[in-house]
């Protein structure tokens, strides 16, 4: 085979490829905008939005020994379409005090944990924002790092620390401070620790982002005008960091309400959290419709904070 022939072939292949790329290119150019928006949009509509409608629908169904374990809402009878809406699941949630109590207790646990995360996270964020810029990145890295190691395993680590033969109790017993082990595991206290610990980075990062943008000249101005540090903090820093506080708090509060792993591993049998209830209804009782109704109630509770969070981010 001659060399010129090879060269000719090569040129043809290349030209073919060129034609192809321009064809793809012109199609892409014409519909680029549409494609870039439509592909993720369609994915999210199908796999994020549509599922909520399905849950909503099934929350009006009735549990049954079937596969899947619930009855359909619609049926044909004598040529008539019958739609059966079973409100029993919601009625059941209202009648059994367990659900209302667990709802209140979830919100309370999430709120208290959020406050503690804020109390611990704020000084840390402020400290990082005030450090020299070389050290700042290392400190930020130290905040993010635990997030990269398994959440499940970090919660598990607290079992070893808090249980009656755990690190804390062993140390306190050895030092003679206590005579018998403190009961910390399987209490709400352990759940608070678990939530604050896991979500602390989510509190620190938005706070840091906010505080690091704060103009130091403002603080100098306040000091020059004779404000004490505490006054400067309360009247300048705190109000200006409010968006960061809101964003961080929502990032902790919203997922904490529906938390399952932390109460399941660290909480006791009397730790009532809605996420745990949903899990039990679904996996242990196999009552999908009631679990769906619980999910809808949980969703209704987080909608308001969710909107608030979006606005803080916006």
């Amino acid at each position: 085979m001659g060399r010129s022939r090879l060269r000719f072939l090569g040129r043809r292949v290349r030209r073919g490829a060129d034609v192809m790329t321009t064809a793809v290119g012109s199609f892409f150019m014409k519909h680029r905008r549409l494609l870039v928006i439509a592909v993720p949009m369609v994915w999210l509509l199908i796999f994020f939005l549509a599922p909520f409608l399905v849950v909503f629908k099934i929350s009006f169904s009735e549990a049954a020994m079937a596969r899947p374990p619930y009855l359909p809402l619609t049926s044909w009878e004598d040529g008539r379409l019958l739609i059966t809406l079973n409100l029993g699941n919601y009625q059941f949630l209202l009648e059994d005090p367990l659900y209302l109590l667990s709802l209140i207790s979830s919100v309370q646990i999430a709120a208290v944990s959020t406050i503690f995360a804020l109390l611990i996270g704020y000084p840390m964020a402020w400290f990082i924002a005030r450090s020299p810029s070389r050290r700042r990145n290392i400190l930020l890295m130290l905040v993010i790092l635990p997030f990269w190691t398994s959440f499940l395993l970090r919660v598990y680590a607290w079992i070893g620390i808090l249980r009656s033969t755990g690190v804390i109790n062993n140390t306190l017993l050895a030092l003679g401070i206590i005579d018998e082990p403190l009961v910390m595991l399987q209490t709400n206290f352990a759940v608070y620790i678990g939530i604050v610990y896991t979500y602390l980075p989510f509190m620190i990062l938005p706070l840091y982002a906010n505080l690091s943008r704060l103009d130091p000249a403002l603080l100098e101005a306040a000091a020059d005008l004779g404000a004490k540090p505490a006054t400067t903090f309360l009247t300048v820093i705190l109000p200006m960091s409010l968006p960061g506080i809101i964003a961080g708090s929502m990032l902790v509060f919203i997922p904490a309400i529906g938390e399952f792993v932390i109460p399941a591993l660290l909480g006791g049998p009397d730790t009532l959290m809605i996420g745990k209830i949903l899990w039990t209804e679904f996996f242990n009782n196999r009552d999908w419709p009631v679990a769906s109704a619980v999910a809808m109630v949980l969703l209704a509770i987080i909608v308001l904070p969710l909107v608030r969070f979006r606005r803080a981010r916006g």
């Binding site: 928006i37 796999f47 899947p68 598990y156």
Partner: protein, 270 residues
């Protein structure tokens, strides 16, 4: 300035709080005793036991496959979403679109899990797809919540990209696709890497969503760990944790090394 020492002490306590549990996991993974928190001598036997456990290795392999697939798909989808949000100004349903890309960040896992499972069941009844539940359904579920994280990471970077380089390329006659691959993509590359890694980690870590949408043959590593841990502390879980922490540490060391080598010229963006 007597406030600074107090602040440093508070920050130090915070950092100790963050790292003490991780440290205790590592230390007790080398403990000989089965009673995890009673120290009875140095031993690496739990590591041996771990590596001989076919159940754990199988689950780890499943988790790895799921994490690679969902991180890759969510990187593509998340990047598209952030491009749409940052570059395309106003479009129809923009509010809905941006809402759907931020909501998964805070959505409780139990809601995501049950809603996706019910969707899969309904879809199977209607169209026969996806047939049963397994790797595919876990990958779809993980992609959906991971792409929100990718979108946030890439969005932050995309906002800071200097558009004049792209404009210069356009003035010199480069086609949009070429500009995207030769100019835009390299300038957001660090965000793409960290977005992929973040998605990979989140997928590898997820217990709740996977529990809902997994099938009988697709037990992931967190599902296996959870079932072990529920029965009490077990030292081989500590060993597993230490290996995972070690891998993360190595990954971070490598990326820090690469970043300091590449980052000297572009120190400005933090």
């Amino acid at each position: 300035m007597k406030r600074i020492p107090l602040l440093s002490i508070m920050a130090l306590i915070g950092f100790i709080f963050l790292y003490a549990p991780i440290l205790s996991l590592v230390v007790y993974s080398f403990n000989e005793s089965r009673l995890v928190t009673v120290w009875s001598g140095f031993s690496t036997k739990w590591y041996g036991e771990l590596l001989r456990d076919p159940q754990i290795l199988g689950a780890a392999w499943i988790s790895l496959k799921v994490a690679v697939a969902s991180a890759t798909i969510s990187l593509v989808l998340g990047t598209m979403a952030s491009l749409a949000l940052v570059r395309y100004g106003r479009f129809r349903f923009r509010e809905l679109f941006s809402g759907m890309t931020t909501a998964p960040l805070v959505m409780p896992d139990v809601i995501t899990g049950i809603s996706l499972l019910l969707l899969f069941v309904t879809m199977e009844a209607l169209f026969g797809w996806p047939a049963g539940r397994g790797l595919l359904t876990i990958i779809i579920a993980h992609t959906t919540f991971c792409m929100a994280y990718v979108a946030v990471v890439v969005e932050t970077r995309l906002i800071n990209v200097d558009r004049s380089v792209e404009e210069a390329a356009a003035d010199l006659g480069a086609k949009p696709l070429r500009i995207f691959f030769d100019v835009t993509l390299p300038s957001i590359a660090p965000a793409l890497v960290s977005g992929w890694l973040l998605a990979f980690t989140l997928s590898l870590d997820d217990l709740v969503i996977a529990s809902f949408v997994a099938g009988p043959g697709s037990t992931t590593l967190p599902m296996l760990i959870f079932s072990k841990v529920r029965l009490g502390v077990s030292p081989d879980v500590n060993a597993l944790a230490t290996i995972l922490i070690g891998l993360v540490a190595i990954g971070i060391a490598i990326s820090a090394f690469v970043m300091t080598r590449n980052g000297r010229s572009s120190e400005t963006d933090a």
